[in-house]
Subunit: 543 residues, 2 copies
């Protein structure tokens, strides 16, 4: 095999520095391009993104070619990385992104005479990039590569940075669009954009989007943005795990793969969770459509729409909080051992859940301060306050439930009978892992307790009673939370912005400050829902 | 001993959730209080901070009492935590903070009739808090406590949050002050603050700061803010390490303490580093004073001041980049083994160095975009560009040098002669650590290679040739970089703001956007210098 690394952190440092610098450059241009008064045009941003995607695609092709040529390049596979639902989601969102690229190309070709070529080139290159990257992640998400460590790390980090830059650009673009559609005063980018183009290009009339097909293209691609955003984030998390796995040593037998037996998919639940979840999902969809219709009407109906919206959300969040809490209570009676194995995928999942929740936390705290300190106290204010408080409680308890679930061992694995040795055994679990990672050394020393991979214990896992009431409860809980998170994802992702329809915060903080807070924090809130769904799916399968 | 934890991450989760929520609430109020138009007054912020400091002080007293009562509470001490220079720095900055509190009390008591009582109470409570906390950290920074784990974690996190909130409040206050002193248009907080006070209190005349002593107090406490900011950050890092060490198991013999032999403090250098550093330090001080004098004069002299300032910085940063690079080159010939021991202090140091550098990176990238895209190309633009590019290079190479230095083993410890076993041994080092942490289990299994604590090797460490040229070079390099970082800390910390004197970026981004960028990023840049100094001191002692 290839020689092992003396200092892994040194190799990582280089790629992190590369990523930080590229990302900051992209961040500067994208944020500069978002402001009208700044002389950075969106063509500059498109040019940068196109160049980055081209480079990343070339590196990916190089990687695929090399790992196909060199048979010993990938000696280990990380069983936890790239589970099927993550890869499936990636393909789904990738297809939506391709549709979006078609719409974008169509929109910009409607008036290509007065656009710079880069605006049409950009979606085309993006389509190529998405296809190449999706194939790459589908094939090699589990790789622990052991050749050209530094180059691979830099390549992975560069591809990750490209995805994050695409994400940032999409979020900024969508926020600008939202702002321009909600307030017809200033804050727009589209108009000056066209003015610029018409100024540099030819006649003014040919450059506006007047034809019906062009309008459809424009509407369509804005509705597809959420999928592009999720695609970039999914790809980023998978790339990050691959980066953590570069040069990692694993025991070949390590890692219990959780194969999803499709036949018994719903058999082991009480049906209460999925049914209640589905009801909330359908009601939520109806509320969302009513809200969107009413809020575009006159003032009186906006208030009515807000009351409906907040009431539904309060009920939904309240139920979710209670259900998460009861899940945590069930765990107090659960005797399964905690899983202390090193697992980069899980560590990342936990960090993302905690980090992404910060976005919604921040919005809620700003709302609370505005409602409590602000003078007008009416029904809407009270609903807003309850909504904000429940949002905080729901995020907190759901995170606690998910994180505890992810750290439980596989089903049926009960701790040994001897209680005094339990604490010691917890450490044994933690320490056997690094010992397994010494394949080139003389036979690994065995600790006093038998390792969890022992034949007896494997038997115990197989023979453990399936369908215990606790397991069924947990499965119900995770399905219910999953469906609720989906509906709470759909609402903001497809344009519900009660933050601006409701005047309390806008008047308290002023439009520009409140818009900045919401536009920075809400994308994290939306990503949180998405990520919670994928984590809850994992909880469902594991429990 | 106390029963060990089944799941450490669960205990940590609770305290992190507490800290996140308290911190976000503080963040909301502080940022709301910074804007004039928002109806959050600074008395609200003061009230919150005072309450938090009181609570934290009470918890600290409770902790001290309890650990004094219960003799088995602290079975292990982390030798890496709370080194003497960190604790010394803490005491130094703590004293400065106390002086600041005296000035603040004096300033606010000058017109106490029309101030709310909380403004005078706040500095008094802060003084009590600083004294209690400094004593606490001096005494128990190395503790690995093993009783009341969850309560201790929550208490430590709450104290950490309090420090971060104080830091945020100080940074915001200083930024508002800087903005008001640099541009005399709007963006002020002091005037409406006084208006409000006079509106609610008595006559208008008695409430303004007219007397000479009051002016001195006001000037004085703004100059002492940087020390308060650093105090909070120092305390935060030490509290974080204590939090990581709660419930940690350590072998009693583990950890080589690096005792600083004061007699040979400078004997082992070539004197080139300290002398060159001192020259740069003195020249830098002169440049800083000239800059501050000239920039407050008329327009023509501002440009001259900027040319002087940028020229000095370019020379200084260029030298630092070269020196850091040569340090990294020296390490390529160094045969000392990498230290793979688990060390929360070092992990935090590295994360802080990388994270804090982001602030200066961001400012530099925004400057580069403004200069490159902006139209006027003159001497100042070129100097600004060179300055920004060198700033990025210097941060990058200095970080690489410091991080590599911190991961080197103790001096004189050369790897074994047998090269084929080296990679295997690297892993041995990494794995012996967790094995040592099983004191309650039967005798730990020995790996094939002798452990580094062997008597023979201890002899080798003692007998290793001292004062090798590489070591002396490294000591010179670290001292030179240290002195340069001190002068580069002094300039922005005490008010040099070429970002606003220079009109390129202000015109390109507009005042408010550029002010937001600089005011958010610069505190991190200033903290980076401070932290680099403490890390370089450690590098000097270790090499």
């Amino acid at each position: 095999a290839a020689p092992r690394e003396v200092w892994k952190k040194g190799g990582r440092l280089l790629s992190v520095l590369l990523a930080v610098n590229v990302l900051l450059l992209a961040c500067t241009l994208i944020s500069g391009g978002a402001f009208n008064k700044v002389a950075v045009y969106d063509t500059d941003v498109f040019a940068l993104l196109t160049a980055m995607m081209l480079l990343a695609a070339i590196w990916i092709l190089f990687y695929l070619l090399r790992s196909a040529r060199c048979p010993g390049a990938v000696p280990y596979l990380d069983a936890h990385a790239g589970p099927i639902w993550l890869r499936g989601g990636l393909v789904l969102f990738g297809i939506c992104t391709l549709v979006m690229d078609v719409f974008k190309t169509g929109y910009y070709s409607s008036f290509f005479e007065c656009q710079s070529a880069i605006k049409i080139l950009h979606p085309l290159i993006q389509a190529v990039f998405v296809i190449v990257q999706t194939y790459f992640l589908w094939v090699s998400a589990k790789d622990c590569i052991h050749v050209h460590l530094d180059l691979t790390r830099c390549g992975l980090m560069f591809t990750l940075t490209t995805n994050l830059a695409i994400w940032m650009a999409a979020v900024v673009d969508e926020s600008v669009h939202q702002a321009s559609s909600h307030s017809n005063v200033s804050h727009t980018r589209l108009t000056p954009d066209l003015e610029r183009a018409s100024g540099s290009g030819g006649g003014g009339d040919t450059c506006s989007c007047n034809t019906a097909i062009c309008q459809i293209f424009q509407q369509g691609y804005f509705y597809l943005y959420p999928f592009n955003i999720e695609y970039s984030l999914f790809a980023s998390t998978m790339l990050y795990v691959m980066w953590k796995n570069v040069g990692r040593l694993l025991a070949a037998t390590h890692g219990h793969s959780h194969t999803l037996s499709r036949a018994s998919l719903f058999r082991e639940t009480f049906f209460a969770g999925p049914i209640l979840g589905l009801i909330l999902f359908v009601v939520g969809l109806a509320v969302f459509i009513i809200y969107e219709v009413q809020v575009s009407g006159e003032r009186g109906r906006t208030e009515q729409a807000l009351v409906t919206y907040y009431s539904f959300n309060i009920v939904c969040l309240g139920l979710m909080t209670l259900v998460s809490l009861s899940g945590s209570v069930i765990y107090r009676f659960d005797r399964r051992a905690m899983d202390h194995h090193k697992n980069p995928t899980r560590t990342l999942d936990v960090a993302l859940l905690m980090g992404a929740a910060l976005g919604q936390y921040a919005i809620s705290y700003y709302s609370i301060v505005a409602v409590v300190v602000g003078t007008p106290r009416d029904l809407l204010g009270a609903l807003n306050l309850a909504h904000a408080l429940l949002m905080i409680a729901q995020h907190t308890f759901q995170n606690v439930f998910i994180i505890e679930s992810l750290h439980r061992g596989p089903p049926g694995e009960e701790p040994r009978e001897s209680p005094p040795k339990e604490s010691c055994q917890g450490l044994t679990f933690a320490n056997l892992d690094p010992l397994h990672t010494l394949p080139a050394c003389p036979p690994t020393p065995r600790l006093v307790n038998p390792s969890p991979a022992d034949p007896q214990e494997a038997m115990a896992i197989i023979l453990a009673p399936r369908g215990h009431w606790r397991r069924r409860c947990l499965k119900d809980i995770s399905l219910f939370l999953l469906l609720c998170n989906v509906i709470l994802w759909i609402m903001p992702a497809f344009g519900a912005r009660p933050h601006f329809s409701n005047t309390v915060e806008v008047e308290f903080y002023g439009y520009s400050l409140w818009a900045a807070i919401v536009n920075i924090c809400l994308p994290f809130g939306i990503f949180y829902r998405m990520h919670a769904v994928s984590s809850l799916l994992e909880v469902y399968v594991l429990s």
